[in-house]
């Protein structure tokens, strides 16, 4: 749960409020809000955590009428609940990639992090289809966390290998001169 500032009708900045308190403040879809980690003020409806404030009031009169349109818009989510909230990012592609790639770099321990990522990523869709949006979002965040950790360690590891090899070659080169260098390259 983040705490948000918002800009009221008079253009004054107010805060901080939890999403529930924001609802009581009566913010609208286009109210500008800001919380830690955001680069700029954004419309409240663009924030995943705040979207539910509006979908509740908005959804009720037209639940049934809207449903076919939703299904046509997103065929991949046909089994989804009757809301307009898009499914949180699953991170499935990334977590699968960070599970395979470490095997190429002799750092298979990282694959375990990738597998944790896959487990959370799979939950995102399950929870979403069950209609549990909050849990889905939670899983999405966890999947993102583990996948990112694995990805950055992998990138750091590649950097370490590249720098290590370059330093080694430079070192050998300076020790034994050009002749040694060409021996190394010819082996």
């Amino acid at each position: 749960m983040n705490r948000y500032f918002y800009i009221d009708a008079e253009g004054k900045q107010k805060g901080t409020f939890s999403p529930e308190e924001l609802r009581r403040e009566g913010i609208k879809r286009d109210t500008l809000v800001w919380t830690q980690g955001m680069e700029q003020w954004r419309r409240a409806e663009e924030i995943e955590e705040l979207y539910s404030l509006f979908s509740d009031t908005y959804r009720e009169p037209q639940v049934i009428a809207d449903q076919p349109a939703v299904r046509y818009d997103r065929p991949g989510e046909a089994a989804g609940p009757q809301t307009h909230r898009p499914m949180p990012k699953t991170w499935l592609v990334e977590s699968i990639l960070v599970t395979i790639l470490p095997f190429m770099l002799c750092s298979s321990v990282l694959s375990l992090l990738g597998i944790i990522g896959i487990v959370y990523a799979a939950q995102v869709e399950s929870f979403y289809n069950r209609g549990d949006y909050a849990a889905s979002l939670e899983s999405s965040r966890s999947a993102a966390k583990w996948t990112r950790i694995a990805m950055w360690i992998a990138i750091g590891w590649i950097a370490l290998i590249v720098i290590g090899i370059i330093l080694f070659v430079v070192f050998i080169g300076s020790l034994s001169g050009l002749a040694g260098m060409s021996d190394l390259l010819n082996t």
Partner: protein, 127 residues
């Protein structure tokens, strides 16, 4: 994350990958002591599912697909899958081909993949 920062990170990672590929091209991991060794192989004496993939990459860069398959068939076959994933995720393929993403990067494809990895792991040490 800002757009500029994203591009900077993307560029840095690309440079790193090109450098890594270049090193894998000029040096043979088979003959050089420079490249990392598999900790699993060192400890247990059994090959992990990734063993041989550095040599396979070296062979592939020299267009020797036969040798690459011999070093690590799984990795060679997984490469197109990896490239597909990178295309889908980072180069807009997701929006253009949502069906392909659904099919190849579903949770069940993740399960299939893990089963294949484990099967390959066992078989390569038995055979």
């Amino acid at each position: 994350m800002g757009k500029g920062l994203k591009i900077a990170i993307g560029a840095a990672v690309s440079v790193l990958l090109v450098a890594a590929l270049y090193l894998f091209y000029i040096f043979d991991p088979e003959a050089q002591p420079l490249f990392p060794k598999c900790p699993f192989l060192l400890v247990t004496g059994y090959e992990c599912p990734g063993c041989g993939s550095q040599r396979a990459v070296h062979s592939l860069l020299h267009l020797d697909i036969g040798a690459a398959l011999k070093y690590n068939a799984f990795m060679v076959l997984a490469l197109p899958y990896i490239f597909l994933g990178i295309y889908l995720e980072y180069f807009g393929g997701k929006k253009r081909y949502p069906g392909i993403e659904k099919f190849f990067f579903d949770k069940w494809s993740a399960v299939v993949l893990l089963v294949v990895i484990i099967a390959y792991w066992i078989l390569r040490n038995l055979l």
